[in-house]
């Protein structure tokens, strides 16, 4: 495991890895992460969490909307102050899963995963990490970032093709005003 969170270092290591695969860039499964911040295992866990927060039904869910990509991108950008919260929080989710059901989060059936998340939300989650970090705060954080990634502007890496806006029947890109506004006709300057 042990991959750390330095973008330039990671990029450097990716380059180096093409010449000679070296320790820290490779997770225990031997896979180089295609993500900026997350390891492959972490991303799978985050994906599973986010798909509970915004599940797919007749409309796409969090994963299809690119929410994990949004969080991963922001964790090396504006949200970089939350890197350790994610690194430890994801480990904590697995500790809670192991404590409650004997398996890692991604290996649990959906019903058990919901139990784990509800335990986090209520602050009753078992796990070493949660002795030094609030499970509720981590849960609030990932709920908030998931909603940002699902409903926010696609330019930040989530809400692929504006799918959440389409779900709500809103135009994307937002051209509603512009359609009413034809400056080439002076008599048209008053809004419809």
């Amino acid at each position: 495991m042990g991959k750390r969170n330095n973008l330039s270092r990671r990029k450097f290591i990716q380059l180096a890895a093409s010449v000679a695969a070296s320790g820290p860039a490779i997770s225990c499964t031997g896979v180089i992460s295609p993500w900026r911040f997350f390891t492959v295992e972490e991303a799978r866990t985050v994906e599973a969490i986010c798909d509970h927060l915004v599940p797919a039904d007749q409309d796409p869910g969090a994963t299809e909307a690119g929410v994990v990509n949004f969080i991963d991108r922001q964790l090396v950008g504006h949200l970089k102050r939350w890197q350790s919260a994610y690194r430890e929080g994801i480990a904590g989710v697995d500790q809670t899963s192991l404590g409650l059901s004997g398996k890692k989060f991604v290996d649990l059936p959906a019903g058990k995963q919901t139990e784990v998340l509800t335990a986090l939300e209520k602050g009753s989650a078992p796990g070493e990490v949660w002795k030094r970090r609030s499970p509720q705060e981590f849960f609030e954080l990932i709920v908030n970032h998931t909603m940002q990634g699902f409903y926010g502007d696609p330019r930040h890496g989530g809400n692929r093709d504006g799918i959440s806006w389409k779900m709500l029947g809103l135009t994307y890109p937002p051209v509603r005003g512009r359609l009413q506004y034809d400056l080439t006709k002076p008599s048209n300057q008053k809004p419809a």
């Binding site: 509970h52 927060l53 915004v54 599940p55 039904d57 409309d59 922001q74 950008g77 504006h78 949200l79 919901t114 709920v143 908030n144 998931t146 909603m147 940002q148 409903y151 926010g152 502007d153 330019r155 930040h156 959440s164 806006w165 779900m167 709500l168 029947g169 809103l170 890109p173 937002p174 509603r176 005003g177 512009r178 009413q180 506004y181 400056l183 300057q189 008053k190 809004p191 419809a192």
Partner: protein, 550 residues
């Protein structure tokens, strides 16, 4: 080395400073207008729902930046924390040419007559420094009119029987009503209330060379893509620059106001866009940085004669920090109420600003600006699920079927709600940062509960099938409506500036922004700041023609 002497330096190119710069430049004074932020135009409008001045999940679009501008926030238990501009506890307004007016919702309220006489109307509740203004509505009326005409206001308040007398109608008509407006209007009329079209600093017809609103839903928090929203950046500041008497210097961060041994202001020290320390000598200095930064600049301007900062001989600078205790209600309807017509907010009531039984004031109530999907994520009845399928169902079912009504409750000023300069934390330029502490007065919370109940009653009458309240919390209030930290008054022992916005013991130093508000009205404060700026400028120009402040 000092730069070439000018007549006036105005610090802050927002609602107040932009107007003062223009008035002084037109009167023939040489003016330097300093702005810590950048100069944006309508063409740099990015419709970004995660990065704007209202939703700052990924930062402020129009400043200040998160990396160089910390503040210290002290909570109710005395625990302090360094906060960044995109966090709520920072109480940010904006940092750019135009200040808050570049991205505001642009409601253009005149305060009511009683708003200038709060203490004599109600008496001060225990623990509050509630006071009368030393000037009246009548003193400001001509300047409200000037602001409405020069900056540009649309709307129609003829049905508002509670409004203070005005000599001229608003210069532009209101926009046609959106669906919410129509639903709320008939409900209010049915209740015997007096709904009307909100006055807005927004072109509804081509005005002063700029086009009309195109009614998109991206208004409060965003730059106007077609330049139909009226701020100082697209009205008075260009006029000031056209006189050739005014020089705008952006990305310039004020360090301290300079004084001499007789105790008069000689100019200002600031860091320019390249980070070089500059000294700009001036005959007079006008501080217009909004309530938190104006107080910080005065407090950071220490010298042997002013050991506690300028204007602070009696420890009033930074005191009485206030904003608005927003209170209201949400209602869900079993039919579509959303028609996608910006700016959203359009109908208001002033029935509850004054005359509420047992309460010292109140608030105007209005429907809310349009909510973007991410903003709606937090709009939930208490106790209902915020994630999972229930979350998604709620979004689909209610996004087009909810109305929010709320109002800015006039606050009871609290002496210990304040801005100080932090003894340890400094910003990128090495200047001690603002340290914010305090709480809202319990009576303000009481008024908030009353106002919220009135909002709920309005929604129920309009046909809401489920409603819930949004109540103010007890913590410090400031935010984009920040005010009160350099109180205007006749007594130098209990105020910072006189009735002309002139610092009591330094006659060539002025404060012109929300800082000077004795009380903040039950209204968005910007038009009052603008009116005060015209009013104070007139005094400055008169004095200039006499003594030249020398």
């Amino acid at each position: 080395m000092a730069l070439k002497q000018v007549n006036a330096v105005v610090v802050g190119a927002g609602a107040g400073g932009g107007i003062v710069a223009k008035e002084l430049a037109q009167a023939g004074l040489s003016v330097v207008l300093l702005e810590r932020g950048q100069w944006y135009s309508a063409f740099e409008c990015r419709k970004d729902d995660l990065r704007n001045q209202r939703t700052t999940a990924l930062g402020n679009a129009f400043g200040p930046d998160d990396d160089r501008n910390p503040r210290v926030s002290v909570d109710g238990e005395g625990k302090e924390r360094v906060v960044r501009p995109s966090e709520g506890e920072y109480h940010n307004n904006a940092a750019c040419v135009g200040g808050g007016t570049f991205s505001y919702g642009a409601m253009a309220w005149r305060f009511m007559e009683k708003d200038f006489r709060m203490r004599s109307t109600y008496g001060a509740p225990e623990g509050s420094t509630l006071e009368d203004w030393p000037i009246s509505y009548q003193d400001l009326e001509p300047y409200y009119e000037k602001a409405e005409g020069e900056i540009g206001v649309s709307g129609d308040d003829t049905n508002n029987i509670f409004r203070a007398p005005r000599k001229k109608p608003l210069p532009m008509p209101p926009l046609p009503p959106n669906r919410e407006h129509q639903i709320l209007q008939s409900a209010a009329e049915g209740m015997g209330l007096h709904p009307f079209d909100i006055p807005m600093l927004r072109n509804t017809v081509p005005y002063h060379g700029r086009p009309a609103c195109m009614r998109c839903r991206w208004c409060v928090g965003f730059a106007c893509e077609v330049d139909a929203k009226c701020g100082t950046h697209n009205t008075v500041i260009p006029t000031a620059l056209a006189t050739r008497n005014c020089e705008l210097r952006t990305e310039c961060v004020a360090k301290e106001i300079l004084t001499n041994t007789p105790g008069r202001v000689t100019g200002i020290a600031y860091f320019d866009a390249k980070g070089r320390l500059q000294e700009q000598p001036a005959d007079l200095v006008v501080v217009s940085c909004s309530a938190i930064e104006s107080a910080r600049l005065l407090l950071n301007s220490k010298s042997a004669l002013f050991p506690n900062g300028l204007g602070n001989r009696h420890d009033w600078v930074g005191r009485n920090l206030q904003g608005h205790a927003y209170s209201g209600a949400l209602g869900l309807f079993d039919f579509d109420v959303y028609d996608d017509q910006g700016p959203g907010a359009s109908i208001a009531l002033c029935d509850y600003n004054h005359g509420n039984p047992g309460l010292a004031g109140g608030a105007m109530l209005a429907n809310e600006f349009i909510r973007l999907p991410y903003q709606f994520v937090r709009v939930r009845p208490p106790g209902s699920p915020r994630w999972g399928l229930a979350h998604k169902d709620f979004m689909r079912k209610w996004f087009r079927r909810h109305i929010m009504v709320q109002g800015p409750v006039q606050e009871m000023p609290v002496f210990d709600s304040r801005v100080q300069v932090d003894p340890k934390v400094k910003d990128y330029w090495g200047i001690p940062v603002a340290r914010l502490s305090g709480r809202n007065h319990p009576h303000t919370i009481e008024i908030g509960k009353y106002i919220a109940s009135k909002a709920e009653a309005w929604l129920k009458e309009a046909g809401a099938i489920q409603t819930w309240l949004m109540l103010p919390r007890g913590g410090l209030s400031a935010g984009q409506h920040q005010a009160g930290t350099c109180r205007m008054g006749n007594d130098p022992k209990t105020s910072v500036i006189n009735k002309y916005c002139q610092v009591h013991d330094v006659d060539n130093l002025f404060v012109v922004d929300g800082s000077v508000h004795v009380t903040n009205g039950g209204f968005n404060p910007v038009l009052t700041i603008m009116a005060l700026a015209y009013y104070a400028s007139e005094h400055m120009v008169k004095t200039w023609k006499g003594t030249k402040f020398r």
